[in-house]
């Protein structure tokens, strides 16, 4: 026991003097979690609180294009900046730059006329089907509507572009529906449709309430912090590979290992000591990053982290994730022959495991084969367990389904490490 204790003391001392290693293990993930959460939070705010500036070039002189612009404004997602109707595509692009806008819409000159024609046609068809108009009534032959043109900055994410497209389509639908309704009303009653009735018919639509489904019945909506803090905590834990595997390799290739092999103590004690020391490091990393989310994020206008109700579950999940990260790092350290090998392979493999594990893009959006592969990444099970606790209000019992595979992967890493040590005659 004294040998193990002496080894832990030695490892802690060596670790504390490795300034670069400590920076990689603590400062890098702290910066990462702040930066990524801030960016994702801004995206969320851009879509929900701030307004996207959209340049509108209305080439139509009719009233419906004005209604369309009013409807776009009413959606609440856009700030409309109207420009001269005579502008060409290049000038519109310049207008986007001038207004610092990512989007521009051109309303064609026949916009109102085409919608009115379509409304008349639809109205006639409706009257005919009600039996209120003779079959011989003249049908106007419709030509296809000239499309609106949506210009966008190529740097705008596809997801935002689709949201914008959906919002514009919805605005267009409202204008078309209103016009059809007015035309039909006029055809039947030979007078304008009362504003109140129009409002009741068009605005009285059912609302959509978004409700997060949680296991503990909590109705707190998840935010960027809830997603990012667990994800980057896992990333930080696994990134100890840069220090830990390097430490194992350094010991192997430096003279100290020659002496260690001649001592009356098994090197397994040294590896156990490293596991305990670095497990402590991973737990401390989690403590630092969670504390940051809890107390520091509100100071920089980011949503605060909401800790799960099951704190013991959180401790166990963190312990399981940390031990898996330590086991992986030692496994790489045992097999790598140089520090460059350990660091290079270690860093790249963690980024790959993080990507396929669903830390960067959720695994549920991955294609079928990749979804299966993602289950081989220990980081996948880590994030699943954390999401269970942080986002779904689950308890330890509920996330055991993620902890069990994580423990199995950890055992596999330990077994491979043991075989590697035996093969290299290190124990």
């Amino acid at each position: 026991m004294f040998k193990l204790w002496a080894s832990i003391v030695k490892d802690v001392r060596v670790l504390l003097r490795d300034k670069v290693g400590i920076s990689l293990m603590f400062i890098m993930p702290v910066i990462l979690v702040i930066v990524v959460t801030t960016i994702q939070n801004s995206t969320f705010q851009l879509m929900n609180k701030n307004k996207l500036t959209v340049v509108v070039c209305n080439k139509d002189a009719g009233k419906l294009s004005t209604q369309l612009i009013a409807t776009i404004n009413k959606i609440g997602m856009f700030k409309v900046a109207q420009v001269d109707k005579k502008l060409n595509a290049q000038q519109i692009a310049d207008g986007m730059h001038a207004n610092d806008a990512m989007l521009a819409v051109t309303i064609p000159s026949d916009f109102s006329a085409k919608i009115e024609a379509k409304a008349n046609s639809s109205s006639n068809k409706a009257l005919k089907s009600f039996g209120l108009q003779a079959d011989s009534a003249k049908e106007v032959k419709l030509t296809g509507a000239t499309p609106l043109i949506l210009y966008y900055n190529p740097s705008i994410p596809e997801s935002i572009r689709f949201s914008v497209n959906g919002a514009l389509a919805s605005a267009l639908q409202i204008v078309e529906s209103r016009e059809t309704l007015r035309t039909l009303y006029f055809a039947i009653n030979e007078k304008e449709m009362p504003q109140q009735l129009e409002n009741e018919m068009l605005n009285g639509k059912a609302e959509i309430n978004q409700v997060p489904v949680s296991k503990n019945g909590s109705l707190k909506a998840p935010n960027a912090t809830q997603h990012n803090v667990p994800a980057w905590t896992i990333f930080a834990m696994f990134f100890i590979i840069m220090s830990l595997s390097g430490s194992v390799v350094r010991e192997k290739v430096s003279g100290s290992f020659i002496r260690l092999k001649t001592l009356p103590t098994n090197y397994a004690v040294g590896l156990l000591s490293k596991q305990i020391t670095y497990l402590g490091v991973t737990m401390f990393q989690a403590l630092v990053i969670f504390s940051l989310g809890l107390w520091f994020f509100p100071y920089i206008n980011l949503p605060a982290l909401n800790l799960p109700a099951d704190i013991f579950g959180l401790f166990i999940v963190t312990l399981a994730c940390g031990y898996c990260a330590v086991s992986y790092a030692i496994c790489i350290g045992v097999f790598a022959n140089t520090q460059e090998q350990a660091n290079g392979f270690g860093a790249v493999s963690i980024v790959i495991l993080a990507a396929i594990g669903g830390l960067m893009v959720p695994s549920f959006v991955m294609p079928g084969a990749l979804k299966t592969i993602s289950q081989l990444s220990p980081l996948h099970w880590c994030i699943q367990a954390y999401y269970g606790l942080f986002l779904e209000g689950a308890g330890l019992k509920d996330v055991m389904i993620s902890i069990i595979p994580l423990v199995a992967i950890t055992i596999a890493f330990q077994a491979v490490t043991y075989l590697g040590l035996k093969r290299k005659n290190l124990i």
């Binding site: 004294f2 002496r259 092999k261 009356p264």
Partner: protein
């Protein structure tokens, strides 16, 4: 002859792919309390033999015993019997001398009280007390050599293997190290030593073995060998027995 510190019988060893030195039926006996020198040109097999005696390499055939205990067994008990001072600096450069001695002392099986006592003694003897808490990485080569030695002897070993313990040090450090080794030997520690510093070896070793190409060319009492071959010093004897050709 008194009881044996080292007994090597019919030793066979080859590196994988037969690269490097090969031993085939080597025999060597070193008595307890001896100051024994192992010399030979570069690539002669000195370090390989030392690695075999310390268990860093495993022999293919034959046996190696240290104080009657086979080194080939997996038992770590035999490792307590000897100390090893490798040619490379074998400690943690980030740690201070005290911290290194605390760690290696514990791994040699000493308790904290024994470690503290031996650390104090060794740092005083080897002139390192004034830098006992400074990181070793900033030390001179000579100071690092003394720490390398201190770690190898912290547990008062009965046998001490020294692989070029004074390479790259100044005269003062060499003098201090050699004197300390003689003191250790006076207290009963068997010294098994390799070096290319033949003049230094002459002052330290009583008995020597000259190795070349994995075999012992000559072995015996140093004075008697010099007399037998009519040479004034070990260097002449060395050149006579191993030739003047360059070695890899």
């Amino acid at each position: 002859m008194s009881s044996l510190a080292v007994n090597i019988e019919n030793l066979g060893f080859h590196y994988p792919g037969n690269s490097g030195i090969t031993y085939d039926g080597l025999n060597l006996k070193i008595a307890e309390g001896e100051r024994f020198g192992l010399f030979g040109p570069n690539g002669a097999g000195k370090t390989t033999l030392m690695n075999l005696m310390t268990g860093l390499l495993v022999a293919d055939t034959g046996k190696i015993e240290l104080l009657g205990h086979s080194i080939g067994t997996k038992s770590k008990a035999v490792n307590k019997l000897f100390g090893f001072v490798p040619q490379d600096f074998s400690f943690y450069q980030e740690l201070s001398p005290v911290e290194n001695l605390e760690f290696f002392g514990a791994w040699y099986g000493l308790n904290s009280k024994q470690i503290a006592q031996r650390t104090k003694e060794l740092l005083e003897i080897l002139g390192l007390s004034h830098v006992s808490d400074k990181p070793v990485q900033n030390f001179s080569g000579g100071m690092k050599r003394r720490i390398n030695l201190a770690i190898g002897v912290i547990h008062n070993p009965k046998i001490l293997f020294l692989d070029e313990p004074t390479v790259g040090v100044d005269v003062q450090t060499r003098h201090a190290i050699i004197n300390y080794l003689k003191e250790l030997n006076d207290n009963g520690t068997t010294l098994i030593y390799t070096s290319h510093q033949l003049s230094e070896a002459e002052g330290l070793c009583e008995r020597i073995a000259l190795i070349d190409n994995g075999r012992i060319v000559r072995e015996g009492n140093l004075d008697k060998l010099l007399e037998e071959y009519d040479h004034q010093n070990l260097e002449d004897l060395f050149l006579n027995l191993t030739g003047k050709d360059f070695r890899n």
